[in-house]
């Protein structure tokens, strides 16, 4: 049986208050010191992030693309605007693959007169690789001819274009990386602007609520209600198609999504118990917003941002498609894609590389955003 103290119990008779001594009166009370070093929020995140293999790979891929966007355009002797009328629309030719048949600089020419194939003024020595699909149209015998397009166009043997060339004989390798550079600048700047504006706007509207919220949301409604195509087109007609105005066109409506999301998050958390507790402790509005409620939104914001980067590139390419792209002769992924679409049936490789690049970037950003969210908020692991 356990012993329970009772003043009248004789067993405790000698336990009077006088027998107790205060061990400490002058010093303040301290917890025992942690034996490990303290870790900050970001360091903690960094540790978790580095444990995720996928995120690291994604980061490396993005780093490589960024590095290529910086150095890629200068890696060969061609400038992004070096034109050569003798090199128009050459297919890709990579030295290492020259024998394999892919990227060997060959192209299929349709419906060639069989009787003209021996004409060396049109088909220089040794340029014909393969003939197929013989047919007769209007009494003329025709066949499809696979040619070494470099020889066919009279280009020297030691000339290589890894990604081929475009309608002005410009090197697509240089233009793709140059385009990646411009597109990434457009995307990053516009997304940062979107997130910043959306974050501030959404926080204020969501936190204060009431009539402030009402007015602010009406404003977003007005902006958002107008059809995007019309707004963007009018915007660019007004301000011309420079880098800045394209970025602004991507911002003018897109920040609203972020603002709405942040506002919704604020509504979700502002009446939570912990916020109430913090308020009770006298925490000010600004601190409450930035330190207590906003961090809840980091996950969704990062997801949003990472989706927004490729979709900004995407919108930019739509603008290029309707003829409002970045100013020529500058290159961008959007410009390359829309130029490529025009000749997709004839020169598909001109679309292939920019499309591949944007997909790789997109996958990488996707993985990175997952990794970052896991790192910042371990409760979401694997989400």
């Amino acid at each position: 049986m356990s012993k329970v103290y009772a003043p009248d119990d004789p067993q405790f008779a000698d336990l009077g208050p006088e027998r107790f001594v205060l061990t400490q009166l002058d010093d303040s009370i301290l917890d025992a010191k942690f034996e490990t070093k303290p870790i900050g929020f970001f360091k903690d995140a960094a540790i978790r992030f580095s444990k995720s293999r996928v995120s690291i790979i994604a980061l490396i891929v993005i780093a490589i693309v960024l590095a290529m966007a910086i150095v890629g355009p200068n890696m060969n002797e061609y400038g992004y605007n070096d034109q050569n009328m003798d090199y128009i629309n050459l297919p890709p030719k990579i030295p290492a693959f020259a024998k394999s048949g892919i990227f060997a600089g060959t192209r299929v020419l349709l419906n060639r007169r069989v009787d003209a194939l021996g004409d060396t003024s049109r088909y220089p020595e040794g340029c014909i690789v393969h003939k197929s699909n013989y047919q007769v149209i209007n009494g003329v015998e025709l066949c499809d001819v696979t040619v070494d397009y470099y020889k066919y166009s009279g280009v020297d043997d030691d000339v290589y274009f890894m990604f081929g060339t475009d309608y002005l004989g410009r090197d697509l390798w240089t233009r793709v990386w140059r385009g990646a550079r411009i597109s990434l600048v457009i995307a990053f700047v516009s997304v940062i602007l979107n997130s910043t504006i959306g974050l501030i706007y959404g926080s204020i509207a969501g936190y204060y609520g009431g009539s402030i919220d009402m007015v602010m949301m009406r404003i977003t409604e007005i902006i958002n209600a107008m059809p995007t195509v019309v707004v963007v087109t009018l915007f660019i007609l007004y301000f011309g198609n420079g880098l800045l105005s394209i970025i602004m066109a991507l911002v003018v409506q897109n920040w609203i999504g972020t603002a709405r999301m942040i506002r919704a998050q604020f509504y979700r958390f502002k009446n939570s118990e912990y916020v109430l507790a913090a308020r009770t402790l006298g925490v000010g509005d600004r601190t409450l917003m930035s330190r207590h409620i906003l961090p809840n939104s980091i996950g969704p914001i990062i997801t949003r941002t990472m989706v927004a980067i490729p979709s900004a590139i995407f919108t930019e390419s739509f603008l290029a498609y309707i003829g409002l792209g970045i100013r020529a002769p500058e290159s961008s992924i959007g410009v390359l894609l829309s130029e490529g679409q025009k000749v997709l049936m004839h020169y598909p490789e001109q679309t292939l590389f920019p499309a591949l690049l944007i997909s790789v970037l997109m996958i990488a950003f996707n993985m990175l955003s997952n990794g970052l969210r896991d790192a910042f908020d371990p409760t979401q692991r694997g989400a």
Partner: protein
């Protein structure tokens, strides 16, 4: 909402009428200067912009007159132009929405439940491709392979077909239209759902004996639907507008090309009517969705009050 709409009409009118290079019939070599002067007077373009605005507003409010097309469909009331074009685009978009919402939700849920498995990775990969490659590339490829090479579908929209034939000839464009929304819904739902799965009430649900799948379906999805509205609202707004790119490639007589060509013509009354009409549609959608928010998530109903 009426005030909002009024502001939109005003801004829209001013923006469109004050466009740079605002000369009517600029590219028309056939009119004499005198005739252009008379024409400008006919459409009140010789008056100051505020006066034009009052005239326009009076017509719109008192007679429901949206104006008359002045260069694309000369003489046709713009409302009639919209009335003829909208149903075509609407058909495509509704079918597309009917395909993409369930498919997107389904694949989003599957990806979330089977997260970090091969299924999840495959879905993410497809999502990424669909979001990152512009629809004009997809549309061109679909048309080239499915319609031209394999002869499974007509290459362009067949206006004379009805019923199943119509759907058949529209399937490719609808598919091309749907890729992006499917991908968007999937990705958003998966992210939201994965976040929800980690929350306390889901832990409780599992603790009381539900399997993860059961818990997700019964408790998780409802919670994830609120943020999903962010993605879905624009889709509803777009039901009545067409895709410029896809309609051009498949020769569909919808709204898509009209917006840009009315700006390029330039046909100001038409541009203005398009702007106002779609703004109205969008406002109504937002209103409906706001109301729906409250139904889905009671917390938002309460949250509307000031916390002070």
């Amino acid at each position: 909402m009426l005030i909002t709409l009024f502001i939109i009409v005003t801004i829209g009118f001013m923006v469109i009428r004050l466009m740079p290079g605002n000369t009517m019939y600029a590219d028309d070599p056939d009119m004499s200067a005198a005739q252009i002067e008379v024409l400008r007077a006919k459409y009140h373009l010789d008056k100051p912009v505020p006066v034009q605005y009052v005239i326009f507003l009076r017509g719109l409010l008192l007679e429901g007159d949206w104006g008359t097309s002045i260069s694309l469909y000369v003489g046709v009331p713009v409302w009639d132009v919209l009335k003829a074009k909208i149903p075509v685009s609407m058909y495509n978009n509704i079918v597309s929405l009917m395909i993409s919402l369930p498919l997107g939700i389904l694949s989003g849920v599957i990806a979330a439940i089977r997260k970090n498995t091969i299924v999840d990775y495959a879905t993410s990969f497809a999502v990424v491709i669909f979001i990152s490659v512009p629809s004009f590339i997809f549309a061109t490829l679909l048309q080239y392979f499915a319609a031209f090479k394999w002869r499974l579908f007509p290459i362009i929209y067949d206006a004379s077909a009805t019923g199943a034939g119509k759907l058949h000839s529209l399937l490719l464009p609808i598919l091309a239209l749907s890729f992006s929304p499917i991908a968007r819904v999937t990705r958003y739902l998966r992210a939201e759902l994965a976040e929800t799965i980690n929350s306390d009430f889901m832990l409780l649900a599992r603790t009381k004996g539900l399997t993860e799948t059961q818990a997700t379906l019964r408790h998780g999805i409802r919670n994830s639907l609120v943020p999903l509205a962010n993605v879905v609202i624009p889709m509803f707004t777009h039901i009545m507008s067409g895709s410029l790119v896809i309609e051009r490639i498949f020769s569909i007589p919808g709204m898509g090309g009209l917006m840009v060509s009315s700006i390029n013509a330039p046909d100001y009354p038409l541009t203005l009517a398009i702007l106002i009409f779609y703004s109205l549609v969008s406002l109504v959608t937002v209103l409906v969705v706001d109301l729906a928010y409250g139904v889905i998530d009671p917390r938002i109903r309460i949250g509307g009050r000031n916390i002070e």
